[in-house]
Amino acid sequence: MSDNKAVITVQGISKYFSPSKGQGTMKQAVTSLFKSGKDTIMRDGYWALKDVSFEVKKGEFFGIVGRNGSGKSTLLKMIAGIYEPTDGKIQVDGKIVPFIELGVGFNNELSGKDNVYLNGALLGFTRKEITEMYDDIVAFAELQDHMDVKLKNFSSGMQVRLAFSIAIRAKSDILLLDEVLAVGDSAFQRKCYEYFMSLKKNKKTVILVTHDMGAVRQYCDTAVMIEEGNIVKRGKPEQVAQAYQKLFIDEIEDAKKKNGSLKNESDLRWGSGKLTAETPKIIIKDNKIIISCKYTASEDIEAPVLGFTIYGPSGTNILEGNTLRENYNTEPMFKNDSTSIVWTLPNILASGTYHVAVACCDQSTTEFYDWFNEAGSFIIVKEGNTAGVVDPELSATIKQG
């Protein structure tokens, strides 16, 4: 079988949502008979997707990114056959298992065991198949002693573990994953990453909808970005991830312009703007984390201090570095000059998602030119479990007696 065969072909699909066609009362239905029908319907609704086309090839890990409400989940639901497109055609060659959410059909009033059978059946397993893998599912979820307890007495973490443990057993040619990573703690996220890795290794066809640019960079072969129902960017994951991050930078720039001042504070980015950072490139390679960033001056300045901070999965400050503390010299800069810096550090971090802030300021560290939070992000996947923030190579000597 050729690896270049398209297994999902999306041809010019559009989706229109009209609230007036949605649930209502008989009264509304009757009164709308007397109004000029079409007029009211087209006014109230909106197009969630407009003429979207793309192909997903066999064995491809395909990313769909976009802001909230951009239409990416609608797109996923149409591929899964949950929504009917208003216009256009979707061809799917193979069996699809959609994970719009983990634990579909889970019922709080049923025991853990009953829920495994129910959820398993909805994922396409027969009762016999579920019985065969039941012990594995329970063991993987680490819930051996809880399976006869009603689901409502499970903690949310336990529920997610159980759901995930069933989900990863789904055998299908094509998997659709929607924001599965948005739930769970860092230990759970690590399990997810390991699962993604195994999917990639086994050459499964995967469509991943996510906000996590780290995941896009790490796993996807191709990606598209959706904005207001249109594909605005498609191609290599790196380009798409940058385009996505640029969306937010542009927004801040716009806000700055509106307020007429570069000093306008924002959660994400603030500073005087005399020197500005570009989106950093982050590479994880050979046990090294390499962060490169380019700065451009908008007026003449003294030698700046350049720095970065890595934030952990829960937002804690993991480590910082800057040219002042590390005793690196920088040069004074004239207007429109650029400087690039490449930071290299050993990859001692534990598995998880990390965000990077880049910053620059003057030598006295009193005037911040640019502080750029969440400028980049990356994912670390390592074998084995640790509850620690760092996971370096350890060595030990043991003496008897």
């Binding site: 209502g24 899964a80 009033e109 027969t126 009762r127």
Partner: protein
């Protein structure tokens, strides 16, 4: 309707199993309730209508006669009432996976089928004790009549379930309508009681439920039952037209509506 695939079969059985468990957990008598319900209802109606109001019209084997009617009616009500909320109640699933939508309605009819079967066992017991006059030659028609009853009930359930997604008034309307239908159907009273006073009353036999119930009673309980054939003559053949028609309407309506269930439910 297409034959169920292996996957759909296991989805259906899983849904039926969990509905079953959910309904009867925390109840002491559990499943016995589904047997007791039509029996108790029959006892109440028997006392009220036979002992106090005396409208049995001297029908022989009136206990079996009444129970059979109540059973068929309960079956119809369970399927259609269950059907109203079948799609909306499973909205959680419909929004997240692409299981065939009709499974939701079929799964709610499953418990009605089980109850109906169990009630039949009780009915046979009573029939044996009271020694009813069964029309042996016509017994072959019983499965056909039961299939007709199931098809009719399910077709209505499909229409109601799809309409309920858009119009939440359906549940109220159907509740009132079935109250009316209960008295329009010759369940507690013999048909000739109506015909004696109002000859035009014969048209109540156009109702497929009336036709099915009376025919079953004629075959299983007593030949004194007035069937649609007796009352309407050639017009009693209308179910041959109305049942397929309503099934076609139901399938087409449900199919076209089910495309937008996920966004409307």
């Amino acid at each position: 309707m297409q034959i169920l695939s292996k996957t759909n079969k296991s989805i259906l059985s899983a849904m039926v199993r969990s509905d079953f468990k959910l309904r009867y957990q925390n109840s002491v008598l559990g499943y016995l309730w589904s047997l007791l319900r039509p029996l108790l209802l029959s006892v109440i109606l028997y006392i009220v209508f036979v002992k106090f109001l005396r409208i049995s019209g001297k029908m022989p084997h009136y206990a079996s006669y009444l129970l059979l009617g109540i059973m068929c009616w309960t079956f119809f009500i369970e399927i259609t009432m269950g059907g109203v909320g079948a799609v909306v109640g499973k909205g959680d699933l419909i929004r997240k996976i692409s299981i065939p939508r009709y499974l939701t309605v079929v799964s709610t009819s499953a418990s009605a089928l089980i109850n109906f079967g169990l009630n039949f066992i009780v009915l046979f017991g009573i029939m044996l004790i009271t020694g009813v006059e069964v029309q042996v030659k016509l017994l072959i028609l019983v499965p056909l009549l039961l299939a007709e009853l199931y098809a009719f009930s399910l077709a209505i359930a499909f229409i109601l379930s799809a309409a309920f997604v858009k119009y939440r008034d359906i549940s109220f309307i159907w509740e009132v309508f079935t109250q009316m239908l209960f008295y329009l159907t010759p369940i507690i009273y013999p048909v000739n009681l109506v015909l004696d006073k109002y000859p035009a009353g014969k048209y109540i036999m156009l109702n497929p439920l009336a036709q099915i119930i009376q025919q079953l009673r004629y075959i299983l309980v007593t030949s004194q039952t007035q069937t649609a054939g007796h009352v309407l003559g050639w017009m009693s053949l209308t179910p041959l037209l109305t049942i397929p028609l309503i099934c076609i309407v139901a399938v087409r309506y449900f199919r076209s509506e089910s495309k937008s269930f996920a966004e409307n439910v």
